[in-house]
Amino acid sequence: MPDLLGLRGVAGEQILAWIRHARAMQEILQRPVAKVPALRGRRIALMFFENSTRTRMSFELAAKSLGADVLNFSASGSSLAKGETILDTAKTISALGADCMVVRDGHSQMPAYLSQHLEEPVINAGDGTNEHPTQALLDLCVLAQLWQGRFEDRLLVIVGDVARSRVARSHLWAARALGHRVRLVGPRQFFEPGLVEAFGCELTSDLDAGLRGADAVMALRVQKERRQQGGPWLSSQLDYFRTYGLTRARLQQHGEAVPLLHPGPVNRAMELAPDLLYDADRSQIQTQVQTGVALRMAVLYWALGGSDEQIVERVHAGT
């Protein structure tokens, strides 16, 4: 079964195929009736054991735009609250007839674990501190557009809460497959031991040095809710913003209009100056969100229908 558990070990060609397919899907989304029956009658279960707004709605919209039925699951008030294990819940949803499971959970490797026990394809919608492959893929769609499809020798600078960021980790794997460079910028609290050995990425705690030469900058949300464990990670919002926050002035030192990405949600005046969020010259944030639906359509279609270009073309043609 074609699972998408992460970008670890995924070939560059496959990533580029998803990006291509997402572009086809994007055209569908721009039609007056943005819907095709490609997955009509298929059931897609959205199993979000952790809170999510944009990823969940994005998957839901993607599924519906392909004509699939959506089984929505939310952890609160479910049988999980009655003590059922996640695997048992997943098996129940499988028995209800789900054809594909989209899983988000606070534990790293949960989707991989479930895929060992389930027949249906499993798509990782974010697992603990491990990966968030569809987010990275939609970012790569945006970057492919900005970089005219050429990844080699480009430099993506990721600023912020990188150590335990699943978005950053998916990007690090993707960079190995596509050949661009990734530089991580942030205070040392955010750098896990072994990052450089594992990925050969660049690390710096000096923001201005870190931005130098960037072909795109991505800010990551400071995950305040993940900071329960492990002591005081940060001092104050003001301190962080002054030291690692991105402002127009700061970005201007590094060329004209270096594109700015953020997977959202944004902490204003923490990672980003308030006025940068909708800065039309730089900010790709709205594009990211729009691209996300198309990319997830491509991934769902691949998981359930195959990756054959011709089929995509048929989707494209609306038949």
């Binding site: 992460g6 670890r8 294990t85 695997l87 959970d105 534990h107 790293s108 490797q109 949960m110 991989a112 674990y113 697992d127 603990g128 501190t129 491990n130 990966e131 335990r164 699943r166 980790r169 896990e192 031991p193 072994g194 990052l195 050995e197 594992a198 990925f199 464990q229 492990g230 002591g231």
Partner: protein, 449 residues
């Protein structure tokens, strides 16, 4: 097998701590060692003999670190199954930790453990008292009453005492009563929720790392407190090269310190997590190849005194979870001896040294006479067939749980009989385990004069 009040074990190659292995006859009487007879051809004129020709005899092993899970968690293991797994590996003394339900922090729980061991146990069971009530790191457990009830040491194990000032009192009071303190050295705040060794493998798997410094910081703290209090600090399962160095220096400085290492930390690295998943999850975690090398050398040199298993059974449904959610710990009793023998086969240390690390050293840690199987001592010993090839199958083992990273490993050498107080408590050929490759069969008869 019924064993008479008096019998002789003849023909075995005997390996005892600090003595060259040699063929000797052991004379057992009323459960104790009556005498050793050096002449290999000597035979008693009458009475029962056990022909152990071709076998290796070692004193019974003392395992300083076992979780028997009884009372309260007996779906994982209990005193019967845990001690059965012990004798299957030649372990005749099992030191069991206090994290049961209820916690062993009052004499009633200790009495329960001792009573169960007496009635259903296969090996000696030596309970460890909790260091603090409920393992909460606040109030001292009643060590005086606990010692009286049969506790041999003090430890909160995985619930590392978080506050240095509390640990100071633990050490002071334990020292007053001559009880060793067994810390699991891991600073929880530095560990920060890490679930495997911090480093590239953890990064690749997207799992939070548990850095070596978490161990070294806690160890350095406890060494300084041991120096302050004069207590005997026995460091549980050291895993890092830096930890070994701290222990070496502390000993040079005259601190009363001993240490143990687990077999899995001598054979596996954090790379194993990729392949084995939660069966390679434990705390402290598997480290790197360099640490394995340093630990092996330290064991050979005696900087690390003893091998202990940290046998930690968990039920399949508990281990069959995503890595982060699964509990720490693996079982280790049944693979203890075969892995230990492999250290000899790999020239890490010689057989008499290995036997010392498994038998005399742990007894020394507990303040017992360090010369097992000398005259007058209990007749606790194991007979080993060094040529027996076998494959460890965790599912058909003696433990109630099967969470072992060594499942499916092939070994050479296996315990065929284990005696406690001169009574046979393990006989491989009657255990239901597969032994088709073993040429040796227990032969017992009346001596012909």
């Amino acid at each position: 097998m019924q064993v008479p009040e008096e019998f002789w074990v003849i023909g075995a190659e005997v390996a005892r701590p600090g003595k060259a292995a040699a063929a000797r006859t052991l004379h057992v009487r009323n459960g104790a060692v009556e005498a050793w007879i050096d002449d290999p051809d000597w035979r008693p004129e009458h009475g029962q003999v056990l022909d152990a020709n071709g076998l290796l005899m070692i004193p019974g092993i003392c395992d300083l670190h076992v979780h028997l899970r009884d009372p309260g968690l007996t779906y994982k293991e209990d005193i019967e199954t845990g001690t059965r797994a012990a004798v299957a590996s030649g372990v005749t003394s099992v030191v069991c930790l206090a994290n049961t339900q209820p916690v062993n922090d009052c004499p009633e729980v200790t009495q329960y453990i001792r009573e169960r061991a007496r009635t259903v146990g296969w090996a000696r069971v030596l309970p460890v008292s909790a260091a603090t009530i409920g393992l909460e790191g606040k109030e001292l457990a009643p060590y005086g009453l606990m010692r009286e009830a049969g506790c041999v040491a003090v430890s909160d194990d995985g619930n590392t005492v978080p506050v240095a000032g509390v640990m100071r009192r633990v050490l002071e009071y334990a020292a007053s009563l001559d009880l060793p303190v067994l810390p699991h050295c891991e600073d929880r705040s530095v560990r920060a929720g890490g679930v495997m060794n911090a480093g590239p493998v953890a990064v690749r798997l997207g799992l939070p790392g548990n850095p070596r410094e978490a161990e070294e910081i806690a160890l350095a703290r406890d060494i300084l407190l041991a120096r302050l209090t004069g207590a005997h600090l026995h460091v549980q399962h050291v895993t890092t090269a830096g930890g070994v160095e701290l222990i070496r220096r502390a000993r040079e400085d005259g601190v009363r310190i001993t240490a143990e290492v687990c077999p899995h930390h001598l054979f596996l690295t954090d790379e194993a997590v990729e392949e084995l998943g939660t069966h390679a999850k434990m705390a402290p975690p598997l480290r790197t190849a360099h640490d394995v090398e340093v630990l092996r050398q330290a064991l050979a040199d005696g900087i690390i005194d003893a091998i202990a298993t940290d046998h930690a059974p968990h039920a399949p449904h508990e281990k069959d979870q995503p890595f982060e959610a699964a509990p720490d710990g693996i079982i280790g009793l049944e693979t203890l001896l075969p892995l230990a023998l492999r250290l000899v086969d790999e020239d890490v240390l010689d057989l008499p040294t290995l036997v010392e690390r498994l038998t005399a050293a742990p007894r020394r840690v507990l303040g017992q006479k360090p010369a097992p199987l000398s005259e007058g001592e209990p007749a606790d010993f194991a007979l080993i067939d060094r040529k027996l090839h076998w494959r460890y199958d965790a599912a058909s083992g003696c433990s109630r749980s099967r969470n072992s990273p060594f499942d499916g490993w092939d070994f050479e050498g296996r315990v065929v009989m284990t005696f406690v107080d001169g009574v046979c408590r393990w006989n491989l050929h009657e255990s239901g385990q597969s032994v088709e490759s073993s040429p040796w069969r227990p032969v017992q008869g009346v001596a012909s004069s």
